[in-house]
Chain length 152, copies 2
DNA sequence: TTTTCTGCAAACGATTTGCATACAC
DNA sequence: GTGTATGCAAATCGTTTGCAGAAAA
C-alpha cells in the first residue's frame, strides 16, 4: 500500500542520469544515499556534515551541484522554509500523491508535515478562472505547535 | 465595501511605532509611502531604486532595517518567491481577509495574484488533527501562465 | 580518448552589522 | 539631553563559478 508511493530508490539513479546524458559517480550515489537514510528536510550544509560523519570527503560545491541536478531529475524537491537556506527532500514517485503541507512553528521553528490534500478543488477553480496551467503547489501554514501554545 | 479591507495607511504609522517604543522618522515614512504608491511585490533593492527616482537619498541598510521593522509591526508582510531576494507588500488591515494566493509562472517568472480563499476548511481540518494553532498561511502555485502555455 | 565531474579557492549577491554622527522626542 | 536611527563601509553567509586535474564511458 504505502509502498506504492515509496520514495525514490538508489537503483533508478543510474538510469535517470543516463537518460539525460549525465554520468554516474560515487559522489552522486552517496549524496542520494544520505536522503534515503535521513527523511528530513536537509540543507546543503546538512548533507555536507552528514557525509563527513561517514568519512566521505565530498566537497561542498559538489554537494550543491548534486542537489541541483537531482532536483532537475525530479529525484529531489527543493523546499524553502524561509530560514535562509534551500532545503531538499526525496520526491514521491507517485504523481498522484501531492506534496504534503508544512506547518511551521513561529516560536520553536519546528517543521511538522501534514498529509491532507484538499487543494485539488482549489487548483481547479483557479485554473478555470485564470487560465493558468497548474503543475504543482506549495503550502505553508504558520502558527504555534502544541508545545509552544502553552508557553507563550 | 472594499475600502474596509483597505491597505494600511500612513496615518497609523506613528501610533504603531510609538506603541512599541520606536521613533517616527522621515525615512520610515517615505519607505512606507513607496508601498502605498506601488502595490507590487517589492524587494529591498526595488524600494531603494524607487526612492532614488524620487530624489530620496536613503541608504540601503536603512531600507533593509525599515522593511524588517514594518514587517514586525504587521504593516508589511514578507513573501518569498524563490527568486533570491525577500519581497514585501502591504498587509491587509482586515484580519478576516486572508492572504491572496500567488501563481508563479515557471517560464516567464511572472507572479499573478489570485483572490480565492478555500483554505479555511483545510486549516480547520489540520488544526483539529495536529493541535497546531494556525495563524497564517502561504500558498504558491507553480505552472504556466496563459501566454507561456502556447510557446513551449 | 573524450567528455563530464570533482575539488579547491575565488567570486558573488543579498542581507547584516559596527561604529561614529545625526536626529526625534 | 538621552536614546534611538541613519549612513557608510566592512563583514557575513549561502551559493555559484573558473579552472586544472581526475574519473566515467
Amino acid at each position: 500500500m504505502s509502498e506504492n508511493h515509496q520514495l525514490f530508490s538508489l537503483k533508478d539513479l543510474r538510469g535517470k542520469l543516463y537518460e539525460r546524458g549525465y554520468k554516474m559517480t560515487p559522489q552522486r550515489k552517496e549524496i542520494l544515499q544520505i536522503f534515503v537514510e535521513h527523511p528530513e528536510h536537509l540543507s546543503a550544509e546538512d548533507v555536507y556534515s552528514l557525509l563527513r560523519e561517514k568519512e566521505s570527503e565530498i566537497g561542498l560545491a559538489t554537494v550543491y551541484r548534486a542537489l541541483d541536478l537531482l532536483s532537475k531529475l525530479g529525484i529531489l524537491v527543493q523546499i524553502d522554509f524561509g530560514d535562509g537556506c534551500a532545503r531538499y527532500e526525496l520526491n514521491t514517485a507517485d504523481p498522484n500523491v501531492h506534496h504534503h503541507h508544512h506547518l511551521i512553528c513561529l516560536n520553536c521553528k519546528k517543521v511538522i508535515e501534514f498529509d491532507e490534500d484538499l487543494l485539488d478543488e482549489l487548483e481547479e477553480v483557479i485554473s478555470r478562472k485564470s487560465g493558468f496551467k497548474i503543475l504543482n503547489h506549495e503550502v505553508k501554514f504558520f502558527g504555534y505547535c502544541k508545545d509552544c501554545q502553552t508557553e507563550t
